[in-house]
Assembly symmetry: C2
Homo-oligomer: 281 residues x 2
C-alpha cells in the first residue's frame, strides 16, 4: 500500500495533501485528497469521507468546498476521493456524456462489460481506500462519518445504509435519492449493472430504507433553486421513504440555493459540525 | 455604464455575481466578480477590493478565497477584478510568459508601445470600476478597503498609497513590495513604462513610503515557505521602509505557508475582520 504524494500545502494550521496510489479494486492509478487538521502528535482523529458528484475529481471540493476551517476547528480529517477510475484503458461513455463513465462511477461495482473490470468504486470506497487511509493517516477507524454531493450524496447514503455501524454520521448535499426513479440512475445503473432492476436496489437509498436498512440519523440539505431537483434528485422520495420507515432524518429545503459549490460551501461548516457532534459523542 | 450579468449564485445568504462590461479605460470587455452579503434593502455597505496576482482572473479568489462567510457575517461587499485587459487585439508577452502581458497587468497605465492602448489597469481600478460598482451595487463609497495577493498586493499598496483617504483600510497577502528591486518588477515596469526608472517610483510601495506617502495602518501576511519570498517579494524591504518612515504596519511571517490560495484562504477571514473594524469605525 504505497502512496505517492502529489502535493502538500499548509492550510488553517493543518496539511492539505493530494496523493496517488495504484488501486487493486479499479486496476488503475487513483488520486485523492486528505486534509489533516492541526493535532497533537500521536492522537487519532475522527474522519469524514466526502464523495463528489458527476464530472468532479478530488479537486472540486478541495478547491471550493470551504471545509478546512471547520475541520481545523473541529479536529476532523477530511478525505475526498475521485469519482471514477481514469486512464487510457478505462472505457468511457459512448458519447463522452458527463453522466456516465469517466467522472461518473456512481459508487457501484459494475457487472456489465466493458465496465466490470475498472468501474469498481463501491469496493474502492468501502474497502480499499479506508485501509489505505488508516495505514497512512492518523485516523480513528471507530469514528467515521460520510457525506457527499449529488451522485456523491447517493454514494454516501447507500454506502452508509449497506454498512450499518461503519459510519456514525451520514449527511448529503442535494443527493440523488433514488436512481431507480430518475434518468441519471437509469442510465448509470442500466449501463453498469444491466437491465435487471433487482440488481439496482442495493444502490438506491430509498429502496434500501424501504427494505429495512437504517441509519442512526441523517442530515440533508437541498437547494430549492436546484435545476436538477424535479427531474433527477426528487428529494421528496427520500422524505416519504423516511416517514414510511420511521427513519430519523433532517431534510432541509434551502431557499434560493442551486446545485453548485456556492450552495455546498455555504452549508459545509454546518454539516461538519453535525458530524463532529456525532463522531465525538 | 451598462453591465452584463454572466452568473449569480446564492451563497451564505447573499449573492455571488460575475459581470462583464465594456471598459473605456482598457478598450476591452472586462469581467469582474462581486459578492453582496445579506443586508437590509436600501442600506449601503462598506466594500473591500481584492486585487489578484499573476496568472489570475476574477475566478481564482472567487473559487478559492473563502471570503464569503466572513463578508456575510461582517456585512462587506467584496469586489474581485481581472488582472489585465484581455481579447484578441490585446498584445501579450512575446514568449507568452506568465509574468507579463495577459494576466499580468501590474495595475499600471502603460506608456510603452504596443501596451499603452489597452494596459491601463491603474485607471481602470482607480477610477472606472469604482464608478461602475457604485452605480450598480449598494456601496458606501466613503467606506472602502483594499487588499490583494502578490502582484495584487503590490496593486493594493500602491493604489492606496497614491490616493490618500480613498481607502480606510489596506492589507495584502504576500505582496510584491518593491518592483524596483525584483525581477518581476523590472520585467513588467520596464515593459510597460520603459527603462527610465523614475517613472517606476509611483508603482513601488517602498519608494512611495520613502517619498512620504502614508496609510493610516497596514496589515501584511507573508508565508515563510513561499517560493517567491527571497527573489521576488522581499518583505523585509517593506518592513525597513515602514520602520524608516515611521509608517504603522503589522507585518506577519507565517510559518509553513506558501504562496497559494491555501495560504490566502487561511488568513482571509482575519484580514476581512481587520478591514471591517476600520470600515465600520
Amino acid at each position: 500500500m504505497t502512496l505517492e504524494t502529489i502535493s502538500t500545502n499548509t492550510a488553517f494550521g493543518g496539511v492539505q495533501g493530494v496523493y496517488k496510489h495504484r488501486s487493486a479494486s479499479t486496476g488503475t492509478d487513483m488520486t485523492f485528497a486528505v486534509y489533516v487538521p492541526p493535532h497533537e502528535q500521536g492522537t487519532k482523529l475522527p474522519v469524514v469521507w466526502y464523495l463528489s458528484g458527476l464530472t468532479c475529481t478530488h479537486a472540486n471540493v478541495t478547491d471550493k468546498g470551504e471545509y478546512r476551517r471547520a475541520c481545523a476547528e473541529l479536529g476532523l480529517i477530511f478525505v475526498a476521493p475521485d469519482t471514477s477510475p481514469r486512464g487510457e484503458d478505462v472505457p468511457d461513455d459512448a458519447e463522452s456524456a458527463y453522466d456516465f463513465g469517466l467522472g461518473a462511477g456512481f459508487y457501484v461495482d459494475a457487472t456489465e462489460e466493458p465496465f466490470a473490470q475498472h468501474y469498481r468504486m463501491r469496493t474502492y470506497i468501502e474497502e480499499e481506500l479506508p485501509e489505505l487511509i488508516a495505514a497512512h493517516f492518523p485516523v480513528d477507524k471507530s469514528r467515521q462519518g460520510i457525506m457527499g454531493h449529488s451522485m456523491g450524496g447517493h454514494g454516501a447514503l447507500t454506502i452508509s445504509l449497506r454498512n450499518p455501524g461503519q459510519f456514525k454520521s451520514t449527511s448529503a448535499f442535494a443527493p440523488i435519492v433514488s436512481p431507480l426513479n430518475c434518468p441519471w440512475g437509469h442510465k448509470a445503473l442500466g449501463g453498469y449493472l444491466g437491465p435487471d432492476q433487482s440488481a439496482w436496489v442495493e444502490y438506491d437509498a430509498c429502496a434500501l430504507i424501504a427494505s429495512g436498512a437504517r441509519l442512526p440519523d441523517l442530515l440533508i440539505d437541498q437547494g430549492e433553486a436546484d435545476n436538477f431537483l424535479t427531474e433527477q434528485l426528487k428529494t421528496h422520495l427520500l422524505t416519504e421513504a423516511c416517514e414510511t420507515a420511521d427513519q430519523t432524518a433532517t431534510i432541509r429545503m434551502q431557499l434560493g440555493y442551486d446545485h453548485s459549490y456556492y450552495f455546498i460551501s455555504t452549508f459545509m461548516a454546518d454539516h461538519l459540525g453535525w458530524h463532529a457532534e456525532r463522531l465525538k459523542a
